[in-house]
Subunit: 345 residues, 4 copies
Amino acid sequence: MQDRLRIAVLGASGYTGADLVRLAITHPRIEIAALAANANAGQAMADIWPHFAPYPALPRLIKADAIDYSGIDAVFGCLPHAASAELLGTLMDKRIIDLSADFRLKDAGTYADWYGGAHPAPALLPDAVYGLTEFAKASLPGARLVACPGCYPTAVLLALLPLVAAKAISAEKITVNALSGVSGAGRSLKQANLFPEVAEAVHPYSIGAHRHMPEMEQELSLRAGRAVTISFTPHLVPMNRGELVTCIVETPHGADYLRDVLADAYTDEPFVHLLPGAQAPATRMVRGSNHVVINAFADRVPGRAIVIAAIDNLVKGSSGQAIQNFNLMFGLPETTGLEQAPLFP
Amino acid sequence: MQDRLRIAVLGASGYTGADLVRLAITHPRIEIAALAANANAGQAMADIWPHFAPYPALPRLIKADAIDYSGIDAVFGCLPHAASAELLGTLMDKRIIDLSADFRLKDAGTYADWYGGAHPAPALLPDAVYGLTEFAKASLPGARLVACPGCYPTAVLLALLPLVAAKAISAEKITVNALSGVSGAGRSLKQANLFPEVAEAVHPYSIGAHRHMPEMEQELSLRAGRAVTISFTPHLVPMNRGELVTCIVETPHGADYLRDVLADAYTDEPFVHLLPGAQAPATRMVRGSNHVVINAFADRVPGRAIVIAAIDNLVKGSSGQAIQNFNLMFGLPETTGLEQAPLFP
Amino acid sequence: MQDRLRIAVLGASGYTGADLVRLAITHPRIEIAALAANANAGQAMADIWPHFAPYPALPRLIKADAIDYSGIDAVFGCLPHAASAELLGTLMDKRIIDLSADFRLKDAGTYADWYGGAHPAPALLPDAVYGLTEFAKASLPGARLVACPGCYPTAVLLALLPLVAAKAISAEKITVNALSGVSGAGRSLKQANLFPEVAEAVHPYSIGAHRHMPEMEQELSLRAGRAVTISFTPHLVPMNRGELVTCIVETPHGADYLRDVLADAYTDEPFVHLLPGAQAPATRMVRGSNHVVINAFADRVPGRAIVIAAIDNLVKGSSGQAIQNFNLMFGLPETTGLEQAPLFP
Amino acid sequence: MQDRLRIAVLGASGYTGADLVRLAITHPRIEIAALAANANAGQAMADIWPHFAPYPALPRLIKADAIDYSGIDAVFGCLPHAASAELLGTLMDKRIIDLSADFRLKDAGTYADWYGGAHPAPALLPDAVYGLTEFAKASLPGARLVACPGCYPTAVLLALLPLVAAKAISAEKITVNALSGVSGAGRSLKQANLFPEVAEAVHPYSIGAHRHMPEMEQELSLRAGRAVTISFTPHLVPMNRGELVTCIVETPHGADYLRDVLADAYTDEPFVHLLPGAQAPATRMVRGSNHVVINAFADRVPGRAIVIAAIDNLVKGSSGQAIQNFNLMFGLPETTGLEQAPLFP
């Protein structure tokens, strides 16, 4: 057996951290060396996570500052924004995969506008790699700090970046309606996320003002070569996992042309799948897996098309993509530890 | 006690028919005289509907042609399209409230294009009243045949008609993303509607080609004074009831102006509620009731706004609006029998 | 129109209080005079309850001690245990319907054992009527203080009391497995009740030690004429509302005999329904309504039978039964304001 | 890389077959050589299974009689009962893992009583191994035909067999209440399994007469050394996957003693986990995995205890256990291909 890389996970008491641990447990090249969660330090993972009951041998949770970093090869940050940059800024001799929002935006001013405070470590921003894996492959092997995209940006950018880059669609008048499962809201105690508040119901939130907007606009602008502003309305759907984005775009081309561009872009990608014919993406196609399904459709309004993508928000939208980035940072095959097929039903 | 009006319900074995019966049971001016469902003729309602177990005295299901129409004051049609027009066309000496699609479109050619066959009774189309109650109040008292709108058109038109009529928004470039509970798909046996196919998942369907599109375009065009085409993408959400439409519109005005127009339009309406401030509509606000909640929001893209509405697809989107129309046809107070407050959680 | 009775609701910020208000809104003889919720005093009901968005005219929430009790006819207590007795003990010149656990147990010592503290008002216990309506009809008209049963006891006792009273089943070896929707856990912030913790899952809780056990045992013992101890295991089911209890009992009689006893007991009851034949009770039969469905079945083990009942935990299991008790206390027809038919789907 | 064993899956169009394929895709020693589903022959797996959209290279579905069995090492039968025995009876030169009910009962007469017809291949019954893996380890390496237990028997027997064998509990008066997700009902078209019929609801079914009863009684009788009859009531819960059984048993011993017996029985088992302390089993602990969680609790009734187990009905309750059996039949490590950690949330 090959040597394992030793990882530390900071923030193992959130859904993102837990899903990272789920994937790391069966990753053949990972050894989980340390799990940190300040508020739960001293507890076993199985004490706070029911699904780790069968894994009593997982490391006990400790405080982040109690980690012995000497033998750690990689640090995964699953902390809230601001707290993440503050802590990770002290660990820059390690290779870091950050799942928070802190290193996604290149501009510290934009960060301050959307996240309500000055950036804790602006000096690190220039070197952070924006880890939308399929578009970061050249940078990942040498990266020291990778900022994993938000879940919505992952789905939207995978759907639109190749089309914008190829000028197949206009970078103006992009309208995105997004649907997310409730795990995206995290495990913190909010009345809005109690089962009876969410079940048998649906509603929009952060209308026209979601924090993932500047991140999408940054990356779209980069490819479009000009400032892009989008309409984006997320909705909370009564399901645990899954995210689906429906993008109405302006284009002089037909849906078939858009499909061709997407097919070219993703032909060698193990996780991004253009669906055949007019098959509609669905979150059940990717549940629990790192896969992405995409398709493009004709709209009834001339000059428009509809591009739709679905992911599992906790996997490709978060922890799975983090592992995918880790794999490429350390020279492993991209799919290592991410082979799980989707769980349906 | 006042006299009761005797009603017959055709198609009482579908979700729409059943919800009509649910409301009729407690309607103080309705007597349920006959319930028809050809495939289930001979059975008690409680045999096919679990929730009518406490109502063993409901009329037994019979075949539609076994109904004695002599003492019937009103006929509610809850039949599939085509079958509906075929049967109702023979009953024109009665006052009819039809919940099918058959009398919604004024143009028999459009009907044929979207519903896959010639209209069974085109001669009746000119006199049918399009029963979006809030916009049909002048016509309902004298109406003999009322076509209740589809569920999506009900939500979309209540959100947009006053704005289009007031020219507060452009009739071009309207983009609607819609979310519906599974009851909208009916009770017929389709693999796609089995619990494990739908639960813990979400997906779009009828992309760019849903049968409710021509109906919305007909009514929008009427108010706009020109032909309107919209982008419309419905999604299936894992909930029983509820429908939410998110409309991105082009407007030179701010959201506050749109709110003013909506407030004016609905100030005296008992069932349509403009939410205060920036409160987001949610299906849980209206579950099981005939209420509608609406609000308008600023978009991040200049020149755009977002208008959102939520209804219960089986009540205001179907059977409740049918009762509301019935009330006005027969000179009853509009809210009679529709007073139930929403069920939450 | 007849005069309305003016009510005050204490604890209007919990699911129980909200469902009471839902029912009171359409009750033809109730005027909601005051709504109290200390932590939310100053807010409108619609601020904290999405489904009251269509009811902006509801009284604003105030602190309990700010209520002017002078014109109040009845007080509904929807407070947590202990807090309830403490406050209600000061209001004994009013007629009180309490939905907390405080006045259900006749023995203050048992209360202290199960609820973790001395009873705040033991002097009131002797006069409190245990408000399982169908078994309290003689006492309700003269009652000043009515203790509404817990949700589980309501379902279990309606299923078993007539059988125990008729000695049709043994009072020994009663085994109850119970299933409840999540609203039973209340609206307070607990990680265990977050949507992702509950959805797509099921688990037992309070195994062998649920606080509703002494209450069931008290009432069973009373009818059996001897001390009864039961096995009781509740489970949390991913649904908002509904409760189903499956009781395995020892009996020398067949299921048909048990059905006869139940039929006799409930023949004139408007809300309790013995299902025909071998139809199984289901929570969907009663959702949102005050109805109860019951049936008895043969077991495969000789000398045993299975008795099953289903209710809506927030209605017959809580607020609906409270209204039912109120109706009888004030000489109104028992079903007043409780006519809503079940909501399905 | 080691050679792969070539498998054929008969009945790949049901949930059981699909979940077997899901697990086989990532099993390092399996090559999926043939997938049969008569009604869907000619279609791609991704045509009928949304979650196989990312796996276009899976073998196309063919008719069972079109399989070239010459190079097949093992046949997995995922067919309905009767059809299974009929077809598998013709393939006895292959090693067979059958997931149907056909070879579970040793007595053809019992089979006829419960499954409504004479057994199609009674001559095969004596040699069939009842594949409750943990109790069949001696027989599996040499087995030609393995009958995988039903989902309920898997959970119940893992909870109770060691206790019955050790005479720690009485074999009399065993009461089991069981809760299952909807996938257990299969993918066939039944109104009862439509989303709106099941969601936001719960109900019992097959009361006192479920087909899994004789199977449980057969195995319990075998260990008890006498005929055992149990009370068993299954309930349908609105979730896709998961099964939880709550067993009330008579015992002279305390729960701690039962825990000791279970701990001894499963100390070396990779998939069966006795939970620590008084932690309650929950289906979310095992979702999507082959794990089982078990615990024993004191009951309030003296002389009784409560034993509870949870599994994923499609994995340990069906396809996962089939793979586990396959592994042992072919001399592979028991956990091969079954390492997936549970999916939560």
